[in-house]
């Protein structure tokens, strides 16, 4: 394999603690190595450029059934943005829900090399894996959803953590999943009857368990197993004015619980797209930012990580396993609505949405997302996302970086809001002059997210031994620049290496890479009760047989990266 040496770039790497010093990065056999370990490397001159590890996205909806509903039911999303194949590039299309081919290329263009699919319905695991297999370049894993799963509800109702853990281990193996995802715990099961759970103490119909019990039980099961990632939650009551109290109630469930396992993460709860969960007020008329209360809590509790879910002010396609929320949204905006309830497991909804700068609520949402990141005391625990495509498409990450790095850029956007004064009254952003630097951006997009995923021993940094995922951006932090220079540079990496393969050369896609699928194989003690329950549920309530449920490797996961966890002790 070719050796590479990236010379003289301004390196930003939180893992090594390098803050923009000029340094060289060497790669050999797919790994980062000491610069003296390469003998005859191909040299990339990065003089005057920014060098970082490949980005790690902790939460995006990029593959699977609901993403494909979004593609297939929105032909308009492909209008005027298709791109013919060229060289090694295959044809591409789509904006907010791009084709898998474009998804891989667009992440690569932004210097990202690892992306987590945030919600995989277990029964549709094959579909999710087929799409990930057809997404070039980037490594991916998928989080199966557990928060409304009948097995989980029944075990946790009786506080049977060990049984829940054994079931989770079985399901992760059956679906080739990566982590425990929870979406609107209990509420999505209630949606099976057209109902919802609006706070953490709202009981789930029939199952007689509360969201708080589900969340606590799943955190405990996660730590019982010692999985690489923590429980990853989208809490109840998303998107409603006044919901920040539900968010704080959810946070509090993690109090006193410490992480276990060998993967080096500090958190036991990752709360995703917190922007959607930080609203004060009690109606759309008086809705306001409570990002301050939320960040006070996050800053003072180091067993929690969050990501932003930044609104990008685009026309986009919302999609979530929070079925009742999508129904609520279609009632609000009267656009087309797709829903897909999944037996015994979960549901999903999809609705197009236009975040308009002329609408006060959208502008307030934009402020809240940025406030979360700007009020963060520890950028290793607060990550940049747009909950793609819910708050905006992932291709806007460079724009989000621009807003976080330049107060001037934020002011330009604030000035462009139709209801600027009302927006400023309802938010804190006008009083924040913090400008993040590239080191903090590298924490929020690389080192921090890799650590939270339990992947800090392979991704997120430039230390020797880590995967050779390296991006070179045409951006000189020591020269004067205008805000748009940041966005342009981070939208269009000059070079990208994925596992030592030169996938972007001089801004052009040069290789489709050798993508891998990450999944977690957790070993637990034999548990006859759980296996009996599994057999019975498949016999009586599922519409596929147990023997036709497990995702096999060859076709769906042709290039796996299996992380083994031993929870038999």
């Amino acid at each position: 394999m070719t050796e590479y040496l990236i010379k003289n770039g301004f390196v930003f790497d939180p893992v090594l603690g390098i803050r923009g010093d000029v340094a060289d990065v060497a790669m050999k056999d797919g790994k980062i190595v000491e610069t003296n370990a390469v003998k005859n490397p191909k040299v990339i001159d990065a003089t005057g450029r920014t060098v970082m590890a490949g980005g790690v996205d902790i939460h995006a909806h990029v593959a699977g059934p609901k993403v494909n509903i979004g593609r297939n039911f929105r032909p308009e999303d492909k209008l005027f943005n298709t791109r013919p194949g060229r060289g090694v590039e295959r044809m591409q299309g789509g904006f907010s829900v791009p084709t898998t081919i474009r998804t891989g290329y667009n992440y690569a263009r932004m210097g990202y090399t690892t992306v987590m699919e945030a919600a995989m319905p277990p029964l549709y695991a094959r579909h999710t894996h087929e799409e990930m297999r057809d997404t070039p370049i980037i490594d991916q894993g998928a989080f199966p959803v557990f928060g409304n799963n009948w097995f989980v509800l029944e075990y946790l109702k009786n506080n049977e953590i060990e049984n829940a853990a054994a079931y989770i281990a079985w399901l992760l193996r059956a679906t080739k999943g990566y982590a425990i995802k929870v979406v609107n715990p209990g509420g999505t099961e209630a949606w099976g009857w057209g109902l919802n759970c609006e706070n953490v103490h709202d009981p789930v119909p029939y199952f007689d368990i509360t969201p708080a019990q589900i969340v606590k039980g799943l955190i405990e099961a996660n730590e019982y197993l010692g999985l690489p990632h923590s429980m990853h939650i989208h809490a109840n009551n998303l998107g409603n004015p006044g919901n920040y109290t539900t968010t704080l109630d959810t946070f509090k469930i993690s109090e006193g619980i410490k992480p276990k396992g060998r993967f080096g993460r500090d958190q036991v709860m990752h709360h995703t797209h917190v922007q959607f969960h930080s609203y004060g007020g009690d109606s759309w008329g008086n809705m306001e930012s409570r990002a301050d209360s939320i960040m006070d809590y996050v800053n003072s509790h180091d067993n929690i990580t969050i990501d932003m879910g930044q609104v990008t002010l685009d026309e986009t396609t919302t999609m979530t396993a929070d079925g009742p929320f999508e129904h609520h949204l279609t009632e609000l905006n009267h656009l087309k609505w797709a829903n897909s309830d999944v037996e015994l497991e979960t549901a999903a909804g999809v609705v197009p949405y236009l975040y308009s700068p002329n609408i006060k609520v959208c502008a307030i949402q934009w402020c809240i997302g940025l406030e979360l990141a700007l009020l963060a005391k520890d950028p290793m625990r607060v990550f940049i996302t747009t909950d793609h495509p819910n708050a905006g498409p992932f291709i806007r990450y460079p724009r989000v970086i621009k807003w976080l790095m330049c107060q001037e850029a934020r002011e330009q956007q604030l000035d462009a809001f139709k209801h600027k004064d009302k927006v400023i009254d309802a938010t804190h952003i006008a009083g924040i002059d913090r400008e993040l630097d590239l080191y903090e951006i590298a924490q929020m997009t690389r080192a921090g997210s890799a650590k939270a995923l339990g992947l800090s021993d392979i991704y997120g940094g430039l230390a020797p031994g880590l995967m050779a995922d390296v991006a070179v951006f045409d951006f000189n932090p020591n020269e004067p620049y205008v805000p748009d220079d940041i966005e342009n540079a981070f939208s269009n990496a000059e070079h990208l290496f994925k596992a030592g393969v030169h996938v972007i050369n001089n801004h052009e896609i040069a290789s489709n890479g050798n993508k891998r699928t990450l999944w977690v194989d957790a070993k637990v003690n034999e548990n006859p009760q759980v296996m009996r329950d599994v057999k019975e549920k498949f016999l009586r309530y599922y519409t596929v047989t147990l023997n036709n449920y497990e995702v096999s490797g060859h076709h769906y996961v042709p290039n796996p990266y299996v992380i083994e966890v031993d929870a038999t002790q």
Partner: protein, 437 residues
């Protein structure tokens, strides 16, 4: 000695039953018995064993007779007509696995083909309606475990999806439906007294082609507004009664078929049916699902969805994916003479397309990749018999509710036969050679 293979998936219809048992000879070469399948499904397995089955490609000669050719020659012919053509049509894709569909799309991309599947004459109109208004739907297990109001509109599962009612919709006892069919109300809307209609609690014998009116009337009835005395041949009292039945359910499901998708009104009928479902969600929980026909037509829409962004009628001839039903749909292209080669795999347009379209296929360079002898193979220049997917080779297929299931191989194909995927992979390699990619 024989052996029994369990949990076998039936590669016939969109119901995609996965509980079949198949008995094969000890050496795995002969398929002897099929259990649990409906009559059609069992036949699909058994006739793979036909003694007179074609096992090698054949090419039509000037005099109309067939001459056996090798797979290599068939691959060469296929690659050549596809690369020579300016705008080839690659049609079918519904009775094959997703692996083959994926390779097929890559070929389509390199040769600038129009990719279309059987939805074009079936549920394509439903797909268009979904693009207009969305679709609240669910998996079939939700129906089994929760649904107490079942509507079959313009479809006849007793004949077309024979195990649908017993596995999913009417008879099974699910988690919240312990009484089975006695706890469910079944409504059938059909101008004919079908075998499905005969077992319904309510049969609305609608005037043919009046589906849109009746669907709209239901929406009026939900809101308690005024109706004319008779709509679509149904008295208003009956409409109000059905509307109340649906509203009072805990979980309503509407299944619909080609009686609404391909009759007067087409996609607008489905718009209205989905609007009915949306309305019902104001009062209770409701879902709607198309009764997809071929066992993996749904899968081809999914594969093209993630690769190109559109579920059928995908025109790749300009180098990027375009979609415009009416322009890029197979019959419109064929009848206007806009395509200059035809490739068919996993479908039988010869039997289902209008005669004017079939004549065009006959006049063009054409290949049919198909295990059976069909009306399509009779009009194509080259016929490539292949192994039966789901019998002689496994692979992924999507059920009518989009649930992916991996079909199984139960017996070996006759010696030396290729699978769809193998054949396409070879064609792809040859296309790349010819194109210098």
């Amino acid at each position: 000695m024989t052996k029994t293979i369990t949990d076998v998936i039936c590669p016939f219809c969109g119901t995609l039953c996965d509980d079949l048992e198949v008995v094969v000879s000890k050496d795995g070469k002969k398929l002897l018995e099929v259990y649990n399948a409906c009559a059609i499904g069992a036949e699909k397995f058994l006739h793979s064993q036909a003694e007179d089955r074609l096992t090698r490609p054949r090419m039509r000669q000037e005099d109309g007779s067939w001459k056996e050719i090798s797979y290599d020659e068939a691959i060469e012919y296929t690659a050549k007509i596809l690369t020579d053509a300016k705008k080839p049509l690659m049609y079918g894709w519904s009775s094959t696995n997703c692996e083959a569909q994926g390779v097929g799309s890559e070929i389509g991309e390199y040769v600038g083909a129009v990719m279309d599947n059987t939805a074009t004459v079936c549920h394509g109109t439903s797909l268009i309606a979904v693009q207009d208004i969305g679709i609240p739907s669910c998996t079939l297990g939700e129906v089994k475990n929760r649904a107490d109001r079942i509507v079959f509109w313009g479809c006849n599962p007793a004949h077309a999806h024979p195990r649908h009612m017993s596995r999913y919709s009417i008879y099974p006892r699910g988690f919240f439906t312990g009484k089975g069919h006695t706890g469910r109300k079944m409504v059938v809307v059909d101008p004919r007294v079908t075998d499905t209609a005969r077992i319904a609690d309510v049969h609305l014998q609608i005037e043919q082609g009046r589906d849109y009116e009746l669907l709209d009337a239901l929406r009026v009835a939900f809101k308690g507004e005024q109706l004319p005395d008779v709509v679509a041949g149904i008295p208003k009292e009956k409409i109000i009664e059905v509307a109340d039945t649906l509203k009072s359910g805990r979980f309503v499901i509407i299944f619909f078929g080609m009686g609404v998708t391909q009759s007067l009104g087409k996609n607008h009928n489905i718009d209205a049916a989905i609007a009915v479902t949306r309305d019902l969600n104001e009062y209770t929980k409701a879902a709607i699902m198309p009764m997809r026909g071929h066992y993996n037509v749904t899968g081809s829409g999914q594969v093209w969805g993630w690769q190109f962004g559109f579920p059928f009628a995908v025109d790749l001839s300009r180098g990027f994916a375009r979609y415009n039903p009416g322009e890029t749909t197979s019959n419109d292209l064929l009848r206007r003479g806009e395509v200059d080669a035809v490739f068919v795999l996993g479908s039988d347009p010869g039997a289902h397309f209008p005669f004017s379209s079939v004549k065009k296929i006959y006049d063009l360079p054409s290949v049919a990749v198909e295990p059976h002898e069909t009306p399509t193979t009779e009009v194509c220049k080259v016929h490539v018999p292949v192994a039966f997917v789901g019998v002689e080779v496994g692979g992924c297929a999507y059920r009518m509710d989009n649930v992916p299931i991996e079909t199984r191989k139960v017996v070996d194909a006759p010696e030396g036969m290729m699978t769809d995927e193998e054949f396409l992979t070879r064609v792809l390699a040859r296309v790349k050679e010819i194109k210098g990619i």
